[in-house]
Symmetry: C2
Subunit: 212 residues, 2 copies
């Protein structure tokens, strides 16, 4: 119980004490192992997840293609979920843990209440909306305007930054999925990028070079 309190304070330094207490007493803390669903496309939600620790990957499926939208970090809400709190619609994206992740699940009735009661809660949610929106906009621009090669480089660079390590432990297939393309394409591109010294393909992982 103590550790959540500390994490909550770290994530939201400007939160009111009363709100913090309510978050902790009404929110359900979940510790989710790596690679598990937090939210699954097509399901119905009755809670709003706030990430205290770990990393969550948001992605969408359409026509049997699934692709990465963006990541959610500690101190952020899985805000898309929020979209569906006030209207009973199935969510149109999925959220999966990328690491072991601690989530505080806030019940929808309380969320509505807090909106009225705590201005800082509104601020938190609005800021998150903003961030999520911007991230999605960025993804969209990438998809529309850049070739896969560039997107792959961006993807790997982002990934390295995210995990603070330039060894990327992913199979070509996984990468291809995130980018919405096929394994062969990734294989070919990594080879090409290797020849330009941008990366080195090791046994089961990719080493990024020349980070800048």
């Amino acid at each position: 119980m103590l550790s959540e309190k500390i994490e909550l304070s770290q994530c939201f330094p400007f939160i009111e004490k009363d709100l913090k207490d309510e978050l902790l007493s009404f929110g359900e803390l979940k510790s989710i192992p790596e690679g598990k669903y937090v939210v699954k496309q097509g399901s119905y939600l009755n809670f709003l997840p706030i990430i205290l620790d770990g990393l969550i990957k948001m992605y969408a499926e359409e026509e049997e293609v699934e692709f990465l939208l963006y990541y959610i970090h500690p101190g952020q809400c899985c805000i898309l979920s929020f979209n569906h709190l006030f209207s009973p619609e199935a969510v149109r994206f999925s959220a999966v843990t990328e690491k072991e992740t601690k989530v505080l699940c806030l019940p929808i009735e309380k969320v509505k209440e807090w909106f009225v009661k705590y201005p800082s809660f509104t601020q938190i949610i609005l800021k998150d909306f903003q961030r999520n929106y911007e991230d999605l906009l960025n993804t969209t621009k990438q998809v529309v305007c850049y070739k896969i090669e560039d997107r792959l480089v961006n993807y790997l660079t982002e990934k390295a930054k995210l995990q603070n390590c330039n060894m990327i432990q992913m199979s070509h297939k996984e990468i291809a999925l995130d980018l919405g393309t096929s394994r062969e394409v990734v294989s070919r591109l990594t080879k090409k990028l290797q020849s330009t010294n941008l990366l080195v393909q090791h046994k089961r992982h990719i080493e990024l070079k020349n980070l800048n």
Copy 2:
């Protein structure tokens, strides 16, 4: 002054009287002719536009490609603008009137005030965020998962629905811009679609057939 009041009531039937009065007295009403910027990518905003009448097109530019994100209808905010109200960053999209449009521009200081003061204002903004987010998500899915041919058909269908008329008065070049492709591609596709009886290419406009 009277007409704005009526429009505001129509757009937001559940709005409190006090809030409505404040919106009208502090908001600046602008009537913007077709094809003009409401918000321009790269600029800094100090107001939040609410659309009372007309139609606004949101689009983004990247690498000299500009493309349609989605539309904003009466009763909605140009919510992206909102993103930038609390932090002084340049907006990363543009908004252009598609028809003659009436906009109520709300000053940022008042917006912050209303958030605390009127729960219904928060609701309006949140709903708009939701809608904008969903629309963008939809666009992203389209771009990632469908071929241009399908996207063109969807685009034209949406357009027809939007203007409630299956005569689309646009040049191929304009359409290409919205979809982020080139004129020749649109020309070729319209010809192909004509052969499948999905549309007829007239002098300077396209007639959509088989609306469903």
